[in-house]
Amino acid sequence: MSEKPVEEMSFEEALKELEDVVRRLEQGDVPLDESIRLYERGAKLKRRCEKKLREAEEKVAQITLDESGNPSGTVPVEEL
């Protein structure tokens, strides 16, 4: 089982693995050591999920185009 560092996970990856961890723990056939490790990983995944949820911040920008129609940058958009 290749484990990606939790800090690099997207919300979806973290949530999926958290669900998996919970399911495995709930099935109850994991060895004790493994269940402790799973619990710790689950706690980490949960923190990652919550962090990603807290990061919810609206930021709206509009692309600016040069004369030939290629994107040259962005300008913030407000009051929409």
Partner: protein, 524 residues
């Protein structure tokens, strides 16, 4: 050949035109007469050379009219000409004198009625579908929670506002708007360019590359939406590596871009809902999972604790392991003293048997015999010595005549010294031997006393004697007139009442068996 002439034909005085003159006349006439016409027909062959001009044929059942759309006009057309399309072309007729041709220069082109437009759309859809651009297996899943959302739409208007509002409600995100014209001839190329442009952005460049693209436009007529039916838009969306949500027009309007998109949303608001999950729901989900995680871990521990306890109960008690051994030990412990006593009894018995020959009386007899002999030898010693002395003296007397007194005297002296020494040794030896025998006798006597019958007497037994004979039977007793009964503390003479034949009682002796070394072995 030189003599062949064309004869002048009389009466033929109509003016002569040069080719150029007549071509020019025709041109003036046609262009004057048909400076603005609308022509309905079906588009035949269409060619698009590099110049950017478009050449096509308009035709019906019996005739064909060539047409050209200059580059500038072609770029502005809302509906691009396609073979088979029923159109109404507006423009002017012109001639092309160099080739004796005439043609229509098309200023604008529109489908000949909705039916024709729909028929054309259907044909295009089929063609693109045949290419596989709309195939289900091409569809990419939308990201669960995109970090950046690209929106291709008009930067002003209700559409972008609806999308932003809904995103704000559900899960505020980073939104990048790529502004495009959403109708008119610029629509299709700009939308296509925007979709390709988002895909071309570097993942970590200055402009964030979206994780999902929404192509959106509000409702409108089929002509208004026509740009989203254009092939270049359809291809750009189909080729997009970034998943695309299309939301063009109202729910009932379907454009070809909807087929090419990965997901079709009925409205721009719905597109925003598809793009992001609801943050509060996710928080609740994570909270729920977190709770389950804790409970599951606690349950896992509790179940094991329970199991340990269960197994612990199944273990035998330590006491029960040693109980039977303890019982055995108790049993042996009880038997031990009895066994020891029995062993001691048995050993004592054997000892008694072995010790019997060494009883005091046997030893006393042996001692008496040795004493007797010693006495005898001692008795004989003095006469023998005297005799010997006499013999020696006689011998001395006999020889002394021939001897010198001094020699004799020396000899006598020496012999006397020898005699003295011998006598001395004799006495010593005899004394030592006697002492040794006495010690032994004393020891034996002590043993005899402890083993002897005297101790028995203390327990109430008595010894009956007739004279020196021990009487052990009543029959023997009757033969005697008097008997002597020995108790532990003394003797009592008694008379036998019944019979008369016994000799008179003869109480004798002091204490039979008592005393050491005076030779009273006759009792036994």
């Amino acid at each position: 050949m030189a003599d062949i002439f064309e004869p002048e034909i009389p009466g033929e005085n109509a003016p002569e035109f040069t080719v150029s003159e007549i071509s020019g006349a025709v041109k003036r006439l046609i262009e004057g007469e048909f400076a603005h016409v609308r022509v309905r027909g079906e588009i035949g062959r269409v060619s698009r050379p590099r110049s950017g001009h478009v050449y096509l044929d308009l035709k019906d059942e019996r005739a064909v009219l060539s047409g050209v759309i200059w580059r500038g006009v072609a770029a502005r057309l809302q509906v691009q000409p396609e073979e088979g399309m029923e159109v109404i072309a507006t423009g002017r007729l012109t001639t092309f004198p160099g080739q004796s041709k005439y043609q229509i220069v098309i200023e604008s082109l529109s489908p000949a009625g909705i039916g024709a437009l729909m028929a054309m759309l259907e044909r295009r859809r089929k063609a693109l579908a045949a290419e596989g651009l709309f195939a289900a297996e091409r569809k990419r899943p939308l990201p669960f929670l995109p970090e950046v959302i690209g929106v291709v739409t008009s930067p002003s208007g209700a559409v972008i506002r609806d999308i932003l509002h809904r995103l704000r409600d559900r899960f505020p995100r980073h939104v990048v708007i790529w502004p495009v014209a959403v109708q008119g001839e610029r629509c299709a190329p700009e939308v296509a360019r925007a979709v390709r442009g988002f895909n071309a952005l570097a993942p970590d460049g200055p402009i964030p590359r979206p994780d999902v693209i929404i192509v959106a436009r509000g409702g409108g007529s089929i002509e208004d939406l026509w740009g989203f039916n254009e092939e270049e838009v359809v291809r750009a969306v189909a080729e997009s590596a970034i998943p695309v949500i299309s939301a063009v027009g109202h729910e009932t309007d379907t454009t070809l871009v909807d087929h090419a998109a990965d997901v079709r949303a009925p409205t721009p608001t719905a597109a925003a809902e598809m793009a992001v999950p609801v943050r509060l729901e996710l928080l609740a989900t994570v909270e729920d999972l977190s709770g389950r995680l804790g409970r599951a871990a606690a349950t896992a521990l509790e179940r094991r604790r329970q199991r340990v306890a269960d197994l612990g109960r199944l273990l035998p008690r330590p006491e029960s392991l040693v109980q039977s051994w303890r019982q055995t030990l108790d049993h042996l412990d009880q038997r031990l003293p009895t066994a020891l006593r029995a062993l001691a009894r048995e050993r004592r018995l054997r000892y008694t048997r072995v010790a019997a020959p060494f009883s005091a009386r046997v030893l006393a007899v042996s001692l008496a015999r040795h004493q007797e002999r010693l006495g005898d030898l001692a008795g004989r010693l003095s006469p023998a010595m005297a005799r010997r002395l006499a013999d020696a003296r006689r011998e001395a007397a006999r020889t002394s005549a021939g001897l010198r007194p001094r020699t004799v005297a020396a000899t006598v002296l020496r012999a006397r010294r020898d005699l003295d020494a011998l006598s001395q040794r004799l006495a010593t030896v005899a004394e030592a031997r006697q002492a040794r025998l006495r010690d032994r006798l004393e020891a034996l006597e002590r043993m005899r006393q402890t083993l002897g019958y005297k101790e028995t007497l203390r327990r109430g037994y008595a010894v009956v004697r007739a004279g020196e004979e021990v009487v052990t039977r009543a029959r023997d007793a009757r033969r005697h007139a008097g008997l002597e009964i020995e108790f532990h503390d003394g003797k009592v003479p008694v008379r036998v009442a019944a019979e008369e034949k016994a000799p008179p009682a003869a109480p004798r002796r002091g204490r039979p068996g008592g005393g050491g070394g005076d030779g009273q072995g006759s009792l036994f």
